[in-house]
């Protein structure tokens, strides 16, 4: 059971004065402090949160009135440190804030803390954080998944009713799966990326991590929609996402053949098969669907993502913000020394790969080829989603791995994203919801829908969630 009421209920009780925002903030801060050994939190925003709570209690309005939340530390929150868990941004104080934060605060939500992540969101475990590794709430010898591992752990540890994550290749859904949370990756562009530290701009999305689908839907509803500060944003569904309709009976669900193939742990597969049987028994039509290019998706991702990373990280040059090497004698030396002493191992690794695939002579063979295979993948998804309403499979091939298990093998670490990257490359919405356990660790069921079908996906996921409890 959760220590928190449903988010809509918390807000309602704050509006009527039955709950006080100041008490909710204290509850969140006390839990964070009590459970600090999990390393989920980089920094708490005590003064700021308490001040906001008092203001909200004085005028308790908003659809998220008084609801505490935790932002992954790659979201800019005005006046708060934003490090992206990287040494190069250590001490960076946000001079403005993310549109997502702005919209949540406008409805009365209160950011109480910033959560740990793999530095710059590069990773699947939080082990690439330049500061610390977050522990899985189910088993402290295991990783929480990544890169939004601090956010997922924080929610499962009851530090707040919801947390924000970013998902570039699975970074919301993978930790949700490993920690037993609900993780929602919206359609590309549905939530503004303004004020969020960029990773790979063509696949980056922002989404909630919660304990229930209804909570995720409400948070999405508040954050979504066009924003002048992000030209890639799209209009939200006019019907919104907060009021979800029942949508399971009569729906057609495609089980992705390639996601149930070898490489998926038998215990994980068994849980997913059980979930599928339950969905079928509840009245959905279940068919098998093949997306033949899926086995290439991870290779496509590990060309496109580092290419965009190398470009986005070029702004960290030590001149305008962030770590700057003090003793350089020339501008060129200042660039090199600031970047070399500021970036961690994985950031450098991705910058190097990205630089390689974009460099003259290799661009066509790697980058352009990857973007063309991406087109093929998009076409296959579009075709499949014309004959079925939803696509379904596991979120990850296995349960959370042990801390340290994959750290010396970058390629093995990358393979944990093999079932999540396709949704990012194609831009479709995807959700991970808990579907039982294997070896006492959570297993995540992944459901995808066509672009802009977020409302339908959330409605379906909510019903499936009800069946799997």
């Amino acid at each position: 059971m959760s220590a928190w009421l449903p988010i809509s209920e918390i807000a309602r009780l704050v509006q009527t004065g039955e709950l006080k925002a100041v008490d909710l903030v204290e509850q969140a801060l006390a839990t964070i402090s009590e459970k600090q050994d999990y390393n989920a939190i980089i920094v708490t925003l005590e003064a700021r949160a308490r001040e906001r709570a008092m203001a909200i209690d004085a005028q308790p309005t908003g659809r998220l009135a008084g609801v505490p939340f935790i932002a992954k530390d790659n979201f800019l929150v005005f006046g708060a440190d934003t490090t992206a868990a990287s040494n190069i941004l250590r001490g960076f104080e946000a001079p403005y804030q993310a549109t997502a934060i702005e919209r949540l605060e406008a409805e009365g939500a209160i950011c109480v803390a910033k959560a740990n992540l793999d530095a710059f969101a590069h990773g699947s475990s939080t082990e690439n954080s330049d500061f610390m590794t977050t522990k899985n709430p189910y088993d402290t010898s295991r990783v929480p998944g990544g890169s939004s591992g601090g956010s997922a752990a924080a929610v499962m540890l009851d530090m707040a009713p919801f947390a924000l994550g970013t998902d570039t290749g699975g970074s919301i859904r993978l930790p949700a799966s490993y920690c037993g949370a609900v993780g929602y990756k919206p359609t590309y562009g549905l939530v503004s990326r303004s004020g969020v530290v960029a990773m790979a701009s063509s696949t980056d999305v922002i989404g909630p991590i919660t304990k229930t689908v209804a909570d995720a839907a409400l948070v999405l509803d508040v954050m979504s929609g066009r924003d002048d500060l992000d030209g890639t944003t799209i209009d939200a569904d006019p019907a919104g996402y907060a009021e979800l309709e029942k949508s399971l009976a009569g729906k057609k669900v495609g089980v992705i053949k390639e996601y149930m193939a070898e490489g998926v742990a038998p215990e994980v597969k068994a849980q997913i098969e059980a979930a599928i049987a339950t969905i079928k028994a509840a009245g959905a039509a279940v068919v098998e669907v093949s997306l033949p290019s899926l086995p290439s998706a991870l290779a496509v991702y590990y060309i496109i993502c580092p290419a965009e990373v190398s470009s986005n990280l070029s702004r960290y040059d030590g001149q305008r913000f962030g770590h700057s090497y003090a003793d350089a004698t020339s501008l060129e030396e200042s660039y090199k020394k600031s970047r070399s002493t500021g970036f961690g191992k994985e950031a450098k690794r991705r910058i190097m790969i990205g630089t390689y695939v974009l460099s003259s002579g290799y661009y066509d063979a790697y980058y352009k080829k990857a973007q063309t295979v991406r087109t093929k993948l998009i076409n296959e998804f579009n075709e499949a989603l014309q004959s079925v309403d939803f696509l379904l499979g596991p979120t990850a091939p296995d349960i959370a791995f042990k801390i340290g298990e994959n750290i010396d093998d970058p390629l093995k670490m990358y393979l944990t994203d093999i079932l999540t990257v396709a949704a990012n490359l194609v831009g479709v919405p995807s959700i991970s919801i808990p579907a039982g356990t294997a070896h006492d660790m959570p297993v995540g069921l992944q459901i995808m829908a066509a672009q802009r079908h977020d409302r339908q996906l959330l409605g379906f996921a909510k019903e499936v969630e009800g069946l799997l409890v």
Binding site: P95, S330, K336, T372
Partner: protein
Amino acid sequence: MSNLTREDILKLAQLARLELTEDEIAEYSSELSEILQYVEMLQAVDVGDLKPTNQVTGLTNITRDDVIKDYGYAIDDLRKNLPDQYEGQIKVKRMIG
């Protein structure tokens, strides 16, 4: 071509404005080679006459009027993260010797 030599790594590092230690050079040449071998699988994918993807949701030419909009940020707030400044301007190291 996917086995990276020491020279390849040094060239990439120069392009990316990174200075690598000897350990990093050795590590990245083997790791990057392994990763590039993995992504090599794409060479075998037949893409026919498909075009590369540029944008996934079909948006084109999102423009705005070229007018100044006040977001209410204080100039001092925007300057406070500057590593070095001189009379309110960004100060950098010497560019020309």
